[in-house]
Amino acid sequence: MLSYALRRLLGAFPTLLILLTLAFVMMRAAPGGPFDADRELPAQVKANLEAKYHLDEPLYQQYGRYLWDVAHFDFGPSFQYRDITVNDLIASGFPVSLKLGGASLAFALLFGVPLGMVAALRQNRPADYAAMTTAMLGISIPNFVLAPLMILLFAVYNDWLPAGGLGGWQNYVMPVLALGTAMMAYVARLSRASTIEVMRSNYVRTARAKGLSARRVVWVHALPAALTPVVSFLGPAAAGIITGSVVIETIFGIPGLGQFFVQGALNRDYTLVMGVVLFYGMLIVAFNLVVDLLYGWLDPRVSYS
């Protein structure tokens, strides 16, 4: 298993290199540059700025320089936030996104899996309909509608929670609900479908035939297998959710990573965009690996030796 993990990690390097190259080319191909504004800079000032950030060099040289810096974990200075480096921006945004995303993920799993299981075990009965209606609502109501509604209800018309900003745990309640609800609903539907399938499989029938208790059949035999699709969904989803959500961050004034993707692209902040894209890429690779390793643990048919 260890050699499998190592092989996978080695295989990640070309993937990340391709990702980085694509991001580099696409950012440079976009019209307009980081120092363009409606108030045009004097030519010499612009030339100096470009020299300072090595934008005056040929592209291949910039690319080489960037790769070299990235190999040393230096993502360079931000073009937009001139007083701050991309490393610092990621270091300040990631913990917040991790907390928010982690909590949303936990919320989605803690409510989604039981909801799906209950629906599956009571298939086509009122509990199933209720659970799936809830899930459908969760998927259909976009978070940019849910979030302002919650703010109105809990912060403006009542005084239960703060409307935004970063303070104590209270500041996380609404963002977590807004971010996690859709995912919870999706997890519920996935686990319902897979539980129904697993419950009909031969080995569950065998377990039942052996006279095991219903609880043991569900918890020990069915659950791990039923979770496999959820786990494969969670890998990339987790990487996505802990790198932030621009919508939720903007609505609640949360300083996570999500806004950097959008602001960075709009500002042609080359280094910031490439920094967060690469960071996101590394997380996806890592989470996918974790997911594959989890498969082996959950499903005895999967083997990495």
Binding site: A37, V45, N48, K52, D83, A131, L137, L152, V156, G165
Partner: protein
Amino acid sequence: MLSRRILLCLLFLCVGLTACSSDKSEQFPVKNTPEIHDDGSTTLRRGNGAEPESLDPHQARSVPAANVLRDLYAGLVQIAPDGEIVPADAESWEVGEQKLVYTFTLRDNARWSNGEPLTAQDYVYSLRRSVDPVTGSPYAQLHTPIVNANDIIQGDKPPESLGVRALDDKTLEITLKSPTPYFLGTLAHSISYPVYRPAVEAHCAAFPQPGNAVTNGAYKMASWRVNSMIGLERNTEYWDDANTAIDRVEFYPITNGNSALSRYQAGELDWATKVPISQYDAIEKYIPAQLHTQPTLGVYYYGLNLRRPPFKDAPELRHALSMAIDRRVIVDKITRGDEIPAYGWIPPVVEGYDGAKFEWTTLSDADRNAKARELYEKAGYSEDKPLEVEIRYNSGEGNKKIASVIASMWRSVLGADVTLRNEEWKVFLDSVRQGATTEAYRLAWIGDYNDPNTFFELMNSKFGLNGTGYASAEYDRLQEKQAHMPDGPERNKVMKQAEATLLADSPVIPIYFYVSKYLIKDYVKGFEGNPLDAYYSKDLSIEP
């Protein structure tokens, strides 16, 4: 179970929204909860638009950055609450007979936040840094009235050659290349703030960070978390600290108007800078006393690309299009915030100048439209041969609405065939700069100081981004002439000529003049609007 809970929530929501319709405050609740600490100290919480791109006074370019910098730094002069230029670090100054040499006397008690005295040498270093191309100041051009500044910006002369010198520790002399009536105004801008040399040299780009920053204004840096909050605390070394009332200022970057309003209503902001237009009626109805509007130095306009058809050599057409726009409809129905319809180039709020206006301003709607059609036909267009024109704008809800309305006016009044095209901001800027594909495009200009020149110079053919390709020798001559005349009726005459020339050539269609809108809680005292939109937290107090 869960669905019942959701139903309950929705029910709650309905109850919360509708049941309490009897009471104003419950229909549009606004919590008045000033942040007053146990020791009696106060915190002002300001909403502040986008995240400032830099808190280096010489690198900053946005309004949110300027708002924070105004609290952190003091210039030689500052803007009083009513908009007047008043002494700050300089307690007095003398202007030489030819209005070329300004001699400033710094206050004895002007100090940096670390207690070090603030000297004339600090200003010499800072002004040189501001024009040094190595610094990369977006506003370096504001200093071009100073001797050699332009050459330094262009890289032709060393920064040491700037016409600024320290006569002694407390006396600063600035020499201009020609008399400049608006010069003092530029000294209140962040590009003219002093920076603390040892901090700049020790920390390079990171010198504005908390812990590194040394400032000379009423406040100093306490904390900065990107996209979350910038915290300032009182600078007890500030020369006028005795008159500072508020102890802490927090700037919250909130770009979304609805979020700003929610946080204002929830009692988390004392001052919201973004007022959502969709809620404007409710705000005017329920909390009119907290809404502050102020005409400012800004013009929203449509540029016409004169380099290529259809606008090249077609003044009649340009006039026809300008006349066919009913600006009243745009300000009354779309922007809806008391914006002022623009019939000239210079905002009426600019001090000491009564601008020129289009000749047709006084015509009735019917006459104006008839005249527009007449000019349209004179330009060679008709129902059978309609003008095909594109309006290009940068993505944004307001721009889109205005473009649609203008397109429909051009269609209905003139019968023109109008297409709309939106582009992302940087792509849009690129298109406007190149001028190869644009026809009509929208842009805006915000003045840097309270003088018509800040608007006049934009249309000079040699000035920065010239998206229209307008190049009139006559206009350039008049613009350059007025920029170096002493204030007074003579200068006004030249300015009016310049504006009339511009309006007659019509390379731009001014649409409306900006009005800024703020929500400020009743317990925040001392707020007074000014056209520069320049407010210092030190001038305010919190008195519940």
